[in-house]
């Protein structure tokens, strides 16, 4: 049991205990603190937008102070825009982490892997810890690793869809072949799906919409926390084998009363 107690997750040289990354979108600012607390998250994503002088409230005033902030490059349609957003995010003084998203497609919100690789290369050279959001493709993931990514964030299903691990087999290939943390991002709709990703060997799971569209957001965040911990423990414990056919009794087949 020591293994699970000492199980930590290192990203960009920083050690984390929680493997649940929460997106901070779609919540009221009053709700966000409860969601973070019940989810036990140590990392939260945030987005950069044009500032509005008329609204003095800011997301940073509502997030717990000990959180590691992971700004995303949402809105970027190519690598240059992602680089610009990442640099502005760093200028806001919240560290060197960045979740690179390059999304030219407005219907399915699918990422452009080639531009994502280009942005990852530029930003890694500038000292960012880059977590690229990507379509789960082995060759692109290898290029992201070569470009200096700190982790890889493959999508499970289209953003905000709550459809679950539709790309399961391809995510498994990344887990097996890429020597970086694989963080399943996008599309995860239920704690059971997050648990499954963790059982497969994902390093962490990110969710936002699944929690934000639940009736009770803090309780759903808590459910995700438990599911991710369960999946991680199951992965470390190594799942039992599956029989091809037939059955195997779990108690001795001798000493029955009728013998």
């Amino acid at each position: 049991m020591e293994t699970i107690k000492n199980d930590t997750f290192v990203l960009g040289g920083k050690e984390f205990h929680s493997r649940f990354i929460l997106g901070s979108g779609k919540f009221s600012q009053q709700l966000i603190r409860d969601v973070m607390e019940y989810g036990g998250s140590e990392i939260a994503t945030i987005a950069l937008r044009r500032a509005n002088a008329d609204s003095p409230e800011n997301i940073l005033d509502y997030l717990p102070k000990n959180l590691t902030l992971l700004p995303n490059t949402s809105g970027a349609r190519n690598a240059d825009e992602a680089v610009r957003i990442a640099r502005l995010s760093r200028a806001l003084g919240c560290g060197d982490f960045v979740k690179v998203e390059v999304i030219p497609d407005t219907k399915y919100l699918l990422p452009d892997n080639a531009e994502t690789i280009r942005a990852t290369e530029i930003l890694s050279k500038e000292g960012f810890h880059v977590l690229p959001y990507m379509y789960p493709d082995l060759i692109a993931a290898r290029r992201l690793a070569d470009a200096g990514a700190a982790a890889i964030m493959p999508l499970g299903a289209p953003i905000g869809s709550n459809k679950g691990l539709r790309t399961k087999d391809f995510i498994q290939i990344l887990i097996d072949e890429i020597d970086l943390p694989i963080i399943v991002d996008a599309g995860i709709g239920a704690p059971s799906q997050a648990c499954e990703a963790m059982e497969m060997g994902a390093a962490a799971v990110m969710a936002n919409t699944a929690v934000a569209t639940a009736d009770n957001c803090p309780m759903m965040a808590h459910a995700f926390k438990l599911a991710i911990e369960a999946g991680r423990a199951a992965y470390l414990a190594k799942l039992g084998r599956v029989l091809e056919s037939g059955a195997e009794a779990s108690s001795p087949l001798t000493g029955f009363l009728q013998d």
Binding site: L48, R50, P71, L88, E101, Y133, T209
Partner: protein
């Protein structure tokens, strides 16, 4: 000037710091890009705005993806 995509006339000589304070921005929560260059906070007081400036003032908000 263009500020966050909106055309604003520069009526008097003004520093970036004076402009931001006048508009009511919280300086701790914003970053400023002027003509595609990110300006350091310590320079705001010495940057004299030009009518041709294109300025983006950004801050963080909640977001997961997109």
């Amino acid at each position: 000037m263009q500020v966050n995509g909106v055309s604003i006339p520069l009526e008097k000589p003004q520093t970036l710091l004076e402009f931001l304070n006048e508009k009511g921005y919280n300086l701790h929560r914003i970053a400023v890009e002027r003509n595609e260059k990110i300006e350091a906070k310590e320079d705001y007081a010495t940057i004299l705005l030009q009518d041709s400036d294109v300025i983006e003032i950004v801050s963080f908000m909640g977001g997961g993806a997109c």
